[in-house]
């Protein structure tokens, strides 16, 4: 996904307002962007607080800064800079966090981003984008370049199943039809579940919805209708329960008067066994792997 990200930004390089800052990361990925932007590509060094405030100053000057780092270094370390300097002033700074969720795997807890969009969406004007596929990134970049306020872009690894017909980009997309429950999820991990879910019989197979923009808005009527019909909702996300998509959706449905017979939220649980491994390992410990999800939705 980082490759798609870099390619998409290179295509925007002629835009004179576009400035890219990195917290000293991007080796073997961002070199083409560095070459394309010249003096508008700034390695701000290992200093995320300064990088975010500098970005606010650049945005205040009428420029369009993108600030990039490994996700937790970008949203947790400089949280106050994001809050006071970017969000309070509603400045169009695009914060790009690489490695959403357990993306950095065995690198350990310091490198994981389990509460990123939840924290950031408590701030005024902030919006979060969680592309699931490489093509989402390509679609988002030109739109984000025109955004009128702060944005958090959470990058991960595209888990697009081979040959899967991905619908045209929309913040809410139905990826699979079924008569079982309704399953809604955020970001790339949903892509990796599709083949296993597709194997289920039609009566058990959930209707699967992918969400890539938060906080949720413009929830499709079709989605609400499906939830009303099945009254069973699964939510999956590689993020903590607190501040996550599941809570947002439950709140939205409660306010809309949609009642459910069951609501099951699968989410990041931190470090269940105290052991470390790949992203796949941590997902499995949280019941976010395809086999666990298939088992969960198969229980009638």
């Amino acid at each position: 996904m980082r490759q798609a990200f870099c390619n998409g930004l290179v295509q925007q390089a002629l835009l004179p307002e576009f400035v890219f800052l990195t917290g000293d990361l991007g080796f073997k990925v961002l070199e083409p962007l560095r070459d394309a932007l010249g003096p508008r590509f700034i390695n701000a060094g290992v200093s995320e607080q300064n990088m975010v405030s500098v970005s606010a100053g650049l945005a205040r000057s009428g420029l369009r800064p993108w600030a990039y780092s490994i996700a937790p270094f970008l949203y947790a370390r400089p949280f106050e800079q994001i809050r006071n300097d970017v969000c309070f002033h509603n400045l169009p700074v695009i914060l790009v966090g690489n490695g959403g969720g357990y993306g950095y795997g065995v690198m350990g807890s310091s490198h994981h981003a389990l509460e990123d969009y939840g924290c950031l969406l408590t701030l005024p004007h902030m919006r979060a984008f969680v592309p699931a596929f490489d093509s989402d990134v390509s679609t988002m970049i030109p739109a984000l370049m025109q955004c009128d306020g702060p944005v958090y872009l959470r990058l991960g690894l595209s888990e697009e199943p081979k040959g899967w017909p991905i619908p045209e980009y929309a913040p809410w997309r139905r990826l699979l039809r079924g008569n079982g429950s309704v399953l809604a999820g955020v970001g790339p991990l949903l892509g990796g579940m599709l083949p296993a879910l597709q194997q289920l019989g039609e009566d058990v197979r959930p209707e699967v919805w992918l969400v890539t923009e938060l906080p949720i808005a413009d929830v499709p009527e079709e989605f609400i209708a499906s939830v009303r019909r099945t009254r069973r909702l699964f939510v999956v996300e590689e993020h903590t329960a607190h501040g996550g998509f599941g809570q947002m959706l439950a709140h939205h449905l409660a306010a809309a008067g949609v009642s459910l017979d069951s609501f099951i939220h699968k989410h990041a649980l931190g470090y269940v066994s105290g052991l470390y491994g790949s992203q796949k390992f941590h997902r499995a410990e949280c019941g976010l792997d395809p086999a666990s999800i298939v088992a969960a939705v198969s229980v009638q």
């Binding site: 400035v19 003096p39 508008r40 700034i42 701000a44 060094g45 200093s47 607080q49 300064n50 975010v52 405030s53 500098v54 970005s55 606010a56 100053g57 650049l58 945005a59 205040r60 000057s61 009428g62 420029l63 106050e80 800079q81 006071n84 300097d85 309070f88 002033h89």
Partner: protein, 273 residues
């Protein structure tokens, strides 16, 4: 309010201006019953020098030490940006003028500050923005001395030096006092000017209550520039000078009257002959 360094002929004017601002600052803080007067009095001569003798239409200013908002408001009042009415409501219910610089409503205030360690990076961003856009003018930023306890200040220093932001000048209001002790007692950084020099930043030291010295230093546009301004917390009011309490306390009526007397009687304020 632009580019007119105070020669001998305008020193008297500067003294009169600053005395008027100081009296208004005291009145404002007395009426509002708020503290932070000590750090406002240490910063006032710097702010007045900037706004009356240096800042031009293409220049920008960031007050990193947001707790000196009172001095900034009074300075903006002296240049006609804020009204008497605005100052009267300082710190009150429904005021435009919060205890630290506000987010909106006053275009001259580019950033709402108040948490220390943000302003210099913001100013660096503005300076870099000017460079990338090919714009003239200069960016100025006033930090406190205690603020340099913040790691982010040093991040900003590394950045502005490395990026050679030659359109950026930052000042330090070196009054030697911070929240709960003197800067030497709490986290000694003396001599701060040498530390800036060690980072490769041209640094000058001035008397922060001498308008001529401040203005001479502000005239320089040679490289990123640090101006370490030696100041006195509570400057001009004997019982406030270098007293920790005046970082926090509001004035009683008796104290206010004494402060007004001292400032009024001190005809030679802020200007050297």
């Amino acid at each position: 309010m632009a580019g007119r360094p105070p020669g001998v002929q305008v020193q008297a004017e500067a003294a009169g201006l600053i005395q008027r601002a100081k009296l208004r600052l005291l009145e404002m803080h007395y009426q509002s019953k708020v503290g932070h007067i000590g750090g406002n009095l240490s910063a006032l001569d710097i702010l007045m020098s900037l706004y009356h003798f240096r800042l031009g239409p293409d220049d920008k200013f960031v007050l990193a030490k947001g707790h000196s908002a009172g001095a900034l408001y009074v300075t903006l009042w002296t240049v006609g940006v804020l009204s008497d009415e605005d100052l009267r409501h300082f710190h009150g219910e429904g005021t435009r003028l919060s205890g630290h610089p506000p987010l909106q409503g006053i275009p001259e205030i580019i950033f709402a500050t108040g948490s220390l360690g943000h302003g210099l990076s913001l100013a660096a961003g503005l300076a870099l923005g000017k460079r990338l856009r090919g714009e003239g003018g200069r960016v100025f930023c006033l930090t406190s001395d205690g603020e340099w306890n913040e790691g982010s200040c040093w991040e900003a220093l590394i950045f502005l030096a490395h990026q050679k932001l030659d359109n950026l000048t930052f000042l330090v209001d070196l009054n030697g006092m911070q929240g709960f002790g003197s800067t030497r007692q709490v986290a000694n950084l003396d001599p701060l000017a040498d530390k800036f020099r060690a980072f490769g930043v041209k640094t000058v030291e001035v008397d922060g209550h001498d308008v001529n010295s401040i203005c001479s230093a502000l005239e320089s546009s040679d490289g990123p520039l640090a101006i370490v301004a030696d100041t006195t917390k509570g400057c001009g009011v004997s019982f406030m000078e270098n007293q920790m309490a005046w970082h926090y306390l509001p004035m009683s009526e008796e104290q206010y009257q004494q402060a007004v007397r001292e400032v009024t009687e001190c005809g030679k304020l802020s200007v050297t002959a």
